[in-house]
């Protein structure tokens, strides 16, 4: 059957076929590329962005805070760089954050590196909500460990909120912030622990230890933060994986048998190219992946590729955050050091007396630089315009600390990613559109976390406390839009990441999360990617059965 796509394929440039094509060079794409490299298959990864240069990162310049709000802003709409595609998040109280380039979101993340908890994989069985995952903590545990070694994780063994985990190197410094909040948590009798962090506290694997630049969120010039451009990709490239940058995939092509045959992409010269492949692996995050799948609609797959369940783009989970900050009479850590130092899992597991299901974690965070002190101070009404500005600023600067709660976001089909009917990126590919709202359960959870957060801040001796819930510019965690499961009617990929509908199409990013947990997802995204790569290798002779 000839289609319009077949005609376009004739007009697009055609590359030599490859065995494995990976779309996206971020957290999961790097991990799966590295793991599959040992097969000696011909592997190509297409990345719409480029390599970053550590010497360009904001912390290398005097204007470090300003640049983190410009070319290094977390919002793709604010950055608007050639690598970015627009995301219409007008219909969401939480705005989307990402980074498009080699390393993906790991270039900008805080490297706070918690794992999901065992209960997170069994929410239906334990709490009667959402669905259980088709994998469990025990299955992923060896891949969490492998990923920790690859990324370089600092931690302290013995956290009673988790099954036993090994520590590779000492935790990041406690600082005045960690000590102040740790003392307060002890007073309240609540759990706290130094964060697992993908930040080196010792020289490791050719990378230098952290020197407390405090700018993890806009790229680590020291290279101490475990971003995949300095971890997995260095090894994958040495193993002959090919990484092509400035190549933006528009859609995946299929044949009469319903198998993926390759992808169309635009290269750096805006030339459309077809890349044939035996296996296609998507690693484009919880928005980029459904965007491409929906844009791959064809006569064979009129509702989008791999979408017989109708769930591609649905069940978007973003982790609503609440932020609570206070000010202290004594000087705190300020802008120095990894922004997040400790965590608490006190309110993580379901307790029905709290009137919400599931729970949240806290990240305790150090202070902020002078620019953000002034901006947030004026926004919060703590720093006036006019004569009183300078004295008020000096009362806040270097004297603040606080926390955010990360609330488990239960999946709801109405929270979704679709294609924007108006906006396009620079290649004419439709933008992603987000429709997202907070559930009543989430609102109760946010309220609870704000109340307990204020209690903690008061116990720590803070005054002039401010709160924000939900935190608007905090849509870093993009999950659930191509969920995994054993039932093709209720999931997009199976229990080892293969599309139910297209048997040589795999998804390895946060899209496949069944539930979100209440912690940052990167370590789980990467553990899943390594697990799926392992499944591909072990099933290689029956992969498409």
């Amino acid at each position: 059957m000839s289609s319009s796509l077949d005609v376009e394929k004739d007009t697009a440039a055609m590359n030599d076929p490859v065995d494995v094509l990976i779309i996206g060079a971020g957290a999961s794409g790097a991990a799966v590329a590295w793991s599959l490299a040992e097969t000696k298959m011909r592997i190509v990864c297409l990345e719409q962005g480029d390599w970053t240069k550590p010497s360009d990162f904001p912390s290398t310049g005097r204007d470090w805070e300003a640049r983190a709000m410009e070319d290094y802003a977390i919002s793709p709409n604010r950055r608007g760089l050639p690598a970015d595609y627009p995301v219409n998040d007008d219909a969401s109280p939480i705005k989307i954050a990402n980074y498009n380039g080699v390393g993906g979101g790991t270039v900008f993340y805080a490297a706070h590196f918690p794992r999901l908890h065992p209960s997170d994989f069994r929410v239906r069985s334990l709490d009667g909500v959402a669905d259980d995952w088709p994998v469990d903590y025990h299955t992923l545990e060896p891949f969490y460990e492998l990923n920790d070694r690859m990324m370089g994780v600092s931690s302290l063994a013995g956290d009673p909120a988790y099954p036993e985990k090994k520590a590779m190197m000492p935790p990041i410094p406690m600082g005045r912030t960690g000590k102040t909040f740790g003392t307060a948590m002890n007073h309240l009798g609540w759990h706290w622990w130094p964060s697992d962090a993908a930040i080196l506290t010792e020289d490791y694997d050719g990378r230098a230890a952290c020197i407390n630049l405090g700018q993890c969120g806009s790229g680590c010039a020291q290279g101490a933060k475990g971003a995949t451009d300095v971890t997995y990709w260095q090894e994958a490239l040495r193993s002959r994986v090919e990484l092509r940058t400035q190549c933006r995939v528009s859609r995946i092509e299929t044949n009469e048998a319903g198998m993926a045959t390759g992808v169309f992409y635009f290269d750096a010269d805006n030339k459309e190219v077809f890349q044939p492949a035996e296996i296609v692996i998507m690693a484009c995050n919880g928005i980029g992946t459904p965007r491409i799948l929906l844009n791959s609609a064809s006569e064979r797959f009129p509702n989008g590729l791999a979408n017989s369940s109708g769930l591609v783009g649905r069940n978007l989970m973003l982790h609503p955050y609440a932020q609570m900050r206070g000010h202290f009479d004594e000087k705190m850590d300020g802008y120095r050091g990894a922004p997040i130092c400790t965590w608490s899992m006190e309110f993580y597991e379901t307790d029905l007396s709290r009137e919400f299901l599931r729970g949240y974690s806290y990240q305790f965070s150090r202070g902020i630089g002078p620019v953000r002190t002034a901006i947030t101070g004026m926004d919060d009404g703590l720093v006036p315009w006019g004569e009183g500005h300078h004295a008020a600023f000096r009362r806040l600067f270097d004297h603040s600390a606080g926390m955010v709660s990360i609330c488990e976001d239960l999946p709801e089909e109405i929270n979704r990613v679709t294609l924007d009917p108006q906006r396009c990126d620079s290649n004419g590919i439709p933008a992603a559109k987000i429709d997202y709202r907070l559930s009543d359960n989430t609102r109760r959870m946010l309220d609870h976390s704000v109340s307990r957060g204020i209690e903690i801040l008061k116990a720590a001796g803070a005054h002039t406390i401010t709160t924000k819930a939900p935190l608007p510019y905090a849509g870093w965690h993009l999950m659930g839009t191509a969920r995994m499961g054993t039932d093709p009617r209720r999931s997009v990929v199976n229990e080892w990441g293969r599309s139910h509908d297209v048997k040589n199409l795999f998804i390895v990013d946060g899209s496949i999360f069944v539930t979100s947990g209440g912690v940052n997802p990167t370590s789980t995204i990467q553990a899943l990617a390594l697990y799926i790569a392992d499944q591909i290798k072990s099933r290689i002779y029956e992969l498409f059965d």
Binding site: T52, A66, A83, H117, G158, I211, A221, W385, F397
Partner: protein, 154 residues
């Protein structure tokens, strides 16, 4: 990284620049007490003008709002009237006021004179970095003593 090609590079008009300078001077004024310039200092204001590319449209809208509230031009009002007008603006247009605050703060709080006055070294974080207290993890003894808190999922 290079900036997006399609972003506007239009500069503010002469009139808009005068209004903006007046606004940021009210926002962060010169202080003899703390020995710091105002945000309308020539060097700092020039830095602001160079740095508002992404906010050009929002700043233009804010300045038009302010002049509308001033029933003419803000700069033509007496200083006390200017302050009253800007208070009205902040109360009625919080988001736009936030854009102006961010534009001013981004440049003001990187000026060497201001850095010195808040005891910050005039240097980037890299390559020297900073010291952070290591702390004593025996502070965790009560947490250890309480024991396991995660649920068994088997």
């Amino acid at each position: 990284m290079t900036k997006s090609k399609d972003r506007t590079s239009d500069e503010l008009s002469h009139s808009e620049r005068k209004t903006l300078r007046c606004v940021v001077g009210h926002m962060i004024p010169l202080s003899l007490e703390f020995g710091v310039p105002g945000a309308d200092d020539p060097d700092i204001f020039a830095d602001i003008l160079r740095s508002i590319d992404r906010d050009r449209d929002a700043i233009g809208e804010a300045l038009r709002m302010i002049d509308t509230l001033a029933h003419g031009r803000l700069i033509d009002l007496p200083r006390t009237e200017q302050a009253r007008c800007l208070l009205d603006f902040r109360n009625e247009h919080k988001t736009l006021a936030g854009v102006l605050e961010a534009a001013a703060a981004r440049c003001y709080y990187r000026d060497d004179r201001v850095m010195a006055s808040i005891n910050m070294e005039a240097r980037p974080p890299f390559p020297k970095g900073y010291l952070v207290e290591q702390g004593d993890w025996s502070l965790l003894d009560p947490v250890r003593a309480r024991g396991r808190i995660f649920r068994d999922a088997n």
